[in-house]
């Protein structure tokens, strides 16, 4: 078991560094840092994000020293998870049914992204106007 700086990636924040531990093929990360980046905290009720809690029977994903086994977390909540212990990188996505449910509502999800000067731009800041979202790329 080795203490390590681990990069945790998700779509909202990109790659962020966290204190963690590498144990063979397992990667564990600091629970507080994990909560700050993903919103998920282990409480008495189970894994909770905002008002939503998912009961969990098996609490072994959380190690004794307050670290979270990222693959174990992903398996417990059926969330897409990639763990590369060799590179000390972990990444989390969102479940397909969660995304599909949002798409089915027809509501436009809000988001914040930087402009080319690095200034954050929030979609909802446009307010009551018609909006054309254009996804493009240089490639």
């Amino acid at each position: 078991m080795t203490d390590a700086i681990v990069s945790l990636i998700n779509a909202e924040h990109g790659a962020r560094e966290l204190a963690g531990t590498v144990d063979g093929g397992r990667v564990l990360v600091d629970a507080d840092g994990f909560a700050a980046l993903t919103g998920w905290t282990l409480k008495a009720e189970g894994w909770c994000r905002g008002e939503v809690c998912v009961p969990v029977r098996d609490r072994t994903p959380v190690a004794a020293d307050g670290r979270i086994d990222v693959a174990g977390f992903g398996a417990a909540l059926s969330m897409p998870t990639v763990v590369d212990a060799e590179e000390r990188v972990v990444a989390l996505g969102e479940r397909a049914d969660t995304r599909a449910a949002v798409i089915a509502t027809g509501d436009a999800p809000d988001f914040e992204l930087p402009d080319l000067e690095g200034r954050p731009f929030r979609f909802s800041s446009i307010g009551r106007k018609k909006k054309l979202l254009l996804a493009w790329a240089s490639w």
Binding site: G14, E94, G106, K129, L132
Partner: protein, 191 residues
Amino acid sequence: MVVAVAFDDSVDAAREWVDAADPRPEYAVLLDREHLLGELYGIVNVPTVVWVDEDDRIVRPPVVAPGDDLFKDFTHIDSNVHHDQLRAWVREGTLPPQSDREHPVVPTEEEQVARVERSVGAHLARVGRRHAAERHFARAAELAPMNWTIRRGTLPLRGEDPFGSPFFAFVAEWEAAGSPGYGSADPNAPR
């Protein structure tokens, strides 16, 4: 109001196109290294547009809509069709008739894992771990073989030409599969 979101890895890659545009865009041009918009709106190809009304409702789900006819010989999409549809919506509030070819792409579990694999690959490529990145890009392509933002979008990060032979091999694969994905804004285009 237009919001242009670049599925690119660097400001420089996006800026080259913004600087070359005439007239220069006065609307917001944003950088989306993690393909957050793809995740939130189910976008699998570019250029794609989504129409959102004053109440933040999606009135037109993602469709492919090139801004000009530079690649018309290849796509058979007439860019004027989308421009006319857009003017009618902005001026009169009319939406184009729902085309059979337009349908939202609902993400699968495999596609969701593929997006995560792509983001790990992109991170590793950025920090110079190209060999390690390749494993994740390959896995992403296996899981979401018809997703352009993964198959074509990773080519620059893999050191490949996005107009080179891997791209044309992908297009042949995509066409052989029946050109899956959402349609284009032009109902007369073959795909």
